[in-house]
C-alpha cells in the first residue's frame, strides 16, 4: 500500500541567543492509511515537535532545518501558507491533549462544529447542520440534536474529547495527529476514547499518529511504534515486536520502568539508561543514624484507625440550611493501617481518595467520624499539644512537584525548616550534616542545597519534597499521587526510593494513586474507592487476582496489559 505520510530525515532546531538546540534529529517515519502509529518517549524527547512539524505549526524560534515531509506525495515543506491552511483543515486533523482548553468555552458545541464545517467543506445551512449531527453521532454522542446547543462546560472530559475528535473529523481528513489525547482523562474514559479512535481509523481508512508518553496507550491502540529519545527515533517497528523484544537499550529501560500489573516485583531494575539516574541510594543504618532517633518511643501495632469518616463540601451556599447543596466527598469510610505497612487507596478522579488523605493529615476538618493515629484521636483538635506532636510524625508528599515547593526558598531552607523550627539539631554543624544526609538519601548531590526549586526537574523536585518530609522524622508518610505527573522512568526511580526508605526507616505509608500497576508494585493492602465510599479492601495480590466487587473487576479490566506481551526475560 502507498504511504500516506512519509517523513525523511527531519531536523528541527530551536534557535536561541546561546546557539541552537536540536529538538528533533534525523527523524524518519511513515504512516499508511488505516494504520495507527504511536510515537512514545518521555517529556522533552521531541515527540510533540514532530507532530507540529507535519502541520507546519512550529513556533518561532523553532525551525525545520532539514528533511522532507511527504503527504500524499506532496512535499509539505514547499507549500505556502494558504495551501498549508487547506491541508491543515481538510487533510490533516489535530486532537490536542486537554479538551478543557481546545474548545471555546463561550460558544456552543454546535456553533464551533458548524464553523469548522463551513470553512473546511464549504457546506452551509441545513446541509452543514446535518453533517454536524452525523459527526457527533459517529463519535458516539447521544442525542446530538440537543447536544448541539450545549456549551463545553456541560460536557464531561471524555465527552469533550469526543467533540474535539468530531472537530478533527469535520473536514474528512486522511490523517489525524493526536497529541496525548487521553492524558487528561480517567482510565475508563481513556479506554473508550482509544477504542473510538481505533474504530474510526479502520472505518474511514485514516492514518493516525498518536503521540504519547504512555506505553499502555500504545500497546492498546497502535499498529506500529516509534520510540524517541533525546530528539532521535531510536527504534521503529510493529507494536508486538517492540514491546516483546526491543533492540535498543533505551527501549528496554523504558519498558522495565513501566510498573507491572500482573506480578509484584521487588524493585524496578535496569532503568539506568536514563540520564541523571546514576546516583546510587546509600543504605541508612538506622540504629546509629539521626533518622532513627525518634521523638516518641511509643510502640503501637496499628498506625492509623479510621472509623466512619465523613466529609462534605458546600457546592452552593445559602443562608438557610435546607437550601444549601453539598457534595459528599467522603462517606462512611473505615479502614486501619498496621505499623510498617503500605496501604493503597485507588479510584478514579473525584472518588474522594485525596480528601481522605487530607482528612488524615489534618489539612481539612472532619465532619463526622474518628481518625486515630497511634491510638490518639486527632479529629478536629487542631490546638491540642499532644495531637500536634502525633501529627508531626505524619508527613505528606504531594502530587504536583511544581507547586509543592516554595519557589522563594532555597532547597536548604526548605529541607531544614522543620529542623530549625523544632530545634531538633544541636548545632549549626549538625544542621548542615543533616541537610547533606537528607539530600544523599534522596539521591541529590550536595550542590543542590543552594539552588532554588525552579532549577530542578519534576522528578528532582519530588525528591526534595521527600527530603523535606523526612526532615520532620515521620513515622507515617502519606503519598498523594506522588508520581502521576512524572515520566515513567523518573516514576520508577521515585518509587524505588520510596520503597528503600520505607524498608530502612520502617515507615508506614498511605499510598494514593489512580494507577493500578503502581498500586500493585507499592502496596501490601488496597482499598478501592468510588463516589466517596470504599468498595473493597483486600490484600493486593487477592485484589488483583480475584477481585470480589463488581467495580474493582471493572477497574482491573481497564488496566493496560502490556506485560502479557513482554517476554519473560525482562
Amino acid at each position: 500500500m502507498a504511504e500516506l505520510l512519509e517523513i525523511k530525515g527531519l531536523d528541527v532546531s530551536f534557535f536561541t541567543r546561546l546557539g541552537s538546540i536540536c529538538a528533533v534529529r534525523n527523524a524518519s517515519i511513515t504512516v499508511k492509511p488505516g494504520e495507527v502509529l504511536g510515537i512514545v518517549g518521555e517529556s522533552g524527547a521531541g515527540k510533540s515537535t514532530i507532530g507540529n512539524a507535519i502541520i507546519n505549526l512550529i513556533e518561532p524560534p523553532g525551525k525545520i532545518t532539514n528533511g522532507e515531509i511527504l503527504f500524499q506525495d506532496k512535499n509539505l515543506r514547499t507549500l505556502n501558507e494558504n495551501e498549508m491552511l487547506n491541508i491543515r483543515g481538510q487533510k490533516i486533523g489535530m486532537i490536542f491533549q486537554d479538551p478543557q482548553t481546545s474548545l471555546n468555552p463561550v460558544r456552543t458545541i454546535g456553533a464551533q462544529l458548524l464553523e469548522t464545517i463551513n470553512s473546511t467543506k464549504e457546506l452551509f445551512g441545513k446541509l452543514a447542520y446535518q453533517n454536524a449531527i452525523d459527526l457527533l453521532k459517529s463519535v458516539g454522542i447521544e442525542q446530538p440534536e440537543a447536544r448541539m446547543k450545549a456549551y463545553p462546560h456541560q460536557f464531561s472530559g471524555g465527552m469533550r474529547q469526543r467533540v474535539v475528535i468530531a472537530l478533527a473529523l469535520a473536514g474528512d481528513p486522511d490523517l489525524i495527529i493526536a497529541d496525548e489525547p487521553t492524558t487528561a482523562l480517567d482510565v475508563s474514559t481513556q479506554a473508550q476514547i482509544l477504542d473510538l479512535i481505533k474504530a474510526l481509523c479502520v472505518e474511514r481508512q485514516l492514518g493516525v499518529i498518536i503521540v504519547t508518553h504512555d506505553i499502555g496507550v500504545v500497546s492498546n491502540i497502535a499498529d506500529r511504534v516509534a520510540v524517541m529519545y533525546g530528539g532521535s527515533i531510536v527504534e521503529t517497528g510493529g507494536v508486538k515486536k517492540i514491546l516483546s523484544s526491543p533492540d535498543h537499550h533505551y527501549t528496554k529501560s523504558l519498558l522495565a520502568a513501566v510498573p507491572r500489573g500482573d506480578v509484584k516485583i521487588k524493585r524496578f531494575a535496569a532503568i539506568d539508561y536514563i540520564e541523571g539516574a546514576a546516583q546510587f541510594h546509600k543504605r541508612i543504618a538506622v540504629a546509629e543514624h539521626w533518622l532513627g532517633e525518634r521523638l516518641t518511643d511509643k510502640k503501637s501495632e496499628i498506625a492509623i484507625v479510621i472509623t466512619d469518616l465523613n466529609k462534605r463540601f458546600v457546592l452552593k451556599k445559602a443562608l438557610f440550611k435546607q437550601n444549601r447543596i453539598y457534595n459528599q466527598a467522603v462517606k462512611d469510610v473505615s479502614f486501619s493501617i498496621k505499623t510498617g505497612e503500605t496501604f493503597g487507596l485507588v479510584g478514579e478522579s473525584g472518588s474522594g481518595k485525596s480528601t481522605v488523605a487530607r482528612l488524615v493529615a489534618g489539612l481539612l476538618s472532619i465532619d463526622r467520624g474518628s481518625v486515630k493515629i497511634f491510638d490518639k484521636e486527632i479529629a478536629n483538635k487542631p490546638q491540642d499539644k499532644q495531637v500536634l506532636a502525633v501529627q508531626r510524625e505524619l508527613q505528606m508528599i504531594f502530587q504536583d512537584p511544581f507547586s509543592s515547593l516554595n519557589a522563594k526558598m532555597s532547597v536548604e531552607d526548605i529541607i531544614t525548616e522543620p529542623i530549625r523550627y523544632y530545634k531538633t539539631a544541636k548545632s549549626k554543624d549538625e544542621l548542615n550534616q543533616i541537610a547533606n544526609d537528607l539530600l544523599d538519601h534522596v539521591g541529590l548531590g550536595k550542590k543542590a542545597l543552594y539552588k532554588y526549586p525552579h532549577e530542578f526537574s519534576g522528578g528532582q523536585r519530588q525528591r526534595i519534597s521527600i527530603a523535606r518530609a523526612l526532615a520532620a522524622r515521620p513515622k507515617i508518610l502519606i503519598c498523594d499521587e506522588p508520581t502521576s505527573s512524572l515520566d515513567v522512568s523518573v516514576q520508577a526511580h521515585i518509587l524505588n526510593l520510596l520503597k528503600d526508605l520505607q524498608e530502612e526507616l520502617k515507615l508506614t505509608m498511605l499510598f494514593i494513586s489512580h494507577d493500578l500497576p503502581v498500586i500493585r508494585q507499592m502496596c501490601d493492602r488496597v482499598a478501592v474507592m468510588r463516589y466517596g465510599s470504599i468498595c473493597e479492601i483486600a490484600e493486593t495480590n487477592d485484589l488483583f487476582n480475584t477481585p470480589k466487587n463488581a467495580y474493582s473487576k471493572h477497574l482491573l479490566g481497564l488496566m493496560p496489559k502490556i506485560h502479557t506481551l513482554l517476554s519473560k526475560t525482562i
Binding site: 501529627q391 504531594f398 509543592s404 516554595n406 525548616e417 523550627y421
Partner: protein, 299 residues
C-alpha cells in the same frame, strides 16, 4: 549542534531578557526622571537657589517677577516669583519634597496594613475573611477624595494628618489585591506541606505566603504613590491639605491660581508641570515594572 543544559540557559536568558526590557526608551526615560525627582526632593535645601520660607530673605518687592528676571538681591528667578516674592523654582523643589514625603509615607504604611489584613483574610478564610473583606468593601465604596476631605475636616491641617487620611483611603486597595494573590497561593501544596509540618500560622504566613504574594503589591505601591501625590495635590488645592507654611505642589498650584488671569501664569504652570512629570514618571515606571514582574505579560 549540542544540547545545552536547560538550567544554565534559563538563567542567562532571564538576565539578558531583563536587560532588554529595562533598556526600552519608556523605562529609561521614566526611570531617569524618577531618579532626578527623588534627588531634587531629597537635596532641596542644598540645590534650591533661595530658601522660599525664610522670611528674612523673601521680599514683597520681588513679587510676580516673570521667569528669568533678576530678584532684588541679584539672584535670577529662572521660573519667576510668586505674589509674595518667593522664587518659584525653589518653592517647587521644597514642595516636591513635601509631596513625596506624604505620598511615600502613606503608601508604605498603607501597604503594611493592607498586607496584614489581606494575608490574614486569605490564610484563615471563612468568617474572618468575610468580616475583613466587608470592611474593605465599605471602605472602597466611598470615593477616595470624599473620605479624605471629611477626615481632614475632622482632623485639621498638617502633614501628619494628610498622611493619616491617605492611609485610611488607600489600605483597602492593598488588602484587596494581596488577598486575591494570597488566596491563589494559599491553595498550593507548599502551604499544605507547611501545615503538615505543624509550623505556626504566623510562620506560614510570614515565610511562605508573604514572599509569594508580594510582587503584584510592589507594582501597585508605585502606582498608588503616584495616585496619592495627586490626591494630596487635590486636597492642598482645595485648601484642606498641608498648611501654607509647608507647601506642597498642590498648594503651590492653588497659590498661583489667583494670579493666572492677571498674566502671571508661571506661578501655577511650573508646579503643574512638575506634578504632571512626577506622576507620569512614576506611573510609566510602575507599568513597566508590572510587565517585568509578571512573566505572563512578557513574551
Amino acid at each position: 549542534m549540542q544540547t545545552i543544559p536547560i538550567r544554565m540557559r534559563t538563567n542567562r536568558k532571564t538576565r539578558s531578557a531583563m536587560r532588554e526590557k529595562f533598556s526600552q526608551p519608556s523605562t529609561v526615560v521614566s526611570g531617569v526622571l524618577l531618579f532626578l525627582v527623588t534627588i531634587c526632593a531629597t537635596f532641596a535645601p542644598l540645590i534650591a537657589p533661595t530658601n522660599p520660607y525664610d522670611l528674612s530673605v523673601v521680599s514683597i518687592m520681588d513679587g510676580r517677577l516673570a521667569p528669568g528676571e533678576k530678584m532684588f538681591d541679584g539672584t535670577v528667578a529662572w521660573l519667576g516669583t510668586d505674589g509674595a516674592g518667593r522664587d518659584v523654582l525653589s518653592a517647587i523643589l521644597f514642595g516636591l519634597r513635601t509631596s513625596l514625603i506624604v505620598a511615600v509615607c502613606s503608601a508604605v504604611i498603607a501597604l503594611f496594613i493592607g498586607l496584614l489584613v489581606g494575608l490574614t483574610a486569605a490564610f484563615f478564610g471563612g468568617r474572618i475573611d468575610s468580616f475583613l473583606m466587608r470592611i474593605v468593601d465599605i471602605q472602597l465604596s466611598f470615593p477616595a477624595i470624599l473620605v479624605a476631605l471629611v477626615l481632614l475636616a475632622l482632623l485639621g491641617k498638617g502633614i501628619d494628618k494628610v498622611i493619616i487620611a491617605l492611609i485610611i483611603v488607600q489600605w483597602a486597595i492593598y488588602a484587596r489585591t494581596v488577598r486575591a494573590t494570597a488566596i491563589v497561593e494559599r491553595r498550593k501544596e507548599y502551604i499544605e506541606a507547611a501545615t503538615c509540618l505543624r509550623l505556626s500560622s504566623f510562620r506560614i504566613i510570614w515565610k511562605h505566603l508573604l514572599p509569594n504574594s508580594i510582587s503584584p503589591l510592589i507594582v501597585l505601591a508605585t502606582l498608588q504613590t503616584a495616585h496619592s501625590i495627586s490626591i494630596e495635590a487635590t486636597l492642598s488645592f482645595l485648601g484642606v491639605g498641608v498648611p501654607i507654611t509647608e507647601p506642597s505642589l498642590g498648594s503651590l498650584i492653588s497659590n498661583g491660581f489667583d494670579y493666572i488671569l492677571s498674566g502671571a501664569y508661571w506661578i501655577t504652570l511650573f508646579p503643574g508641570i512638575m506634578l504632571f512629570a512626577t506622576v507620569a514618571a512614576i506611573n510609566i515606571f510602575g507599568d513597566r515594572l508590572r510587565v517585568l514582574l509578571n512573566p505572563r505579560l512578557s513574551k
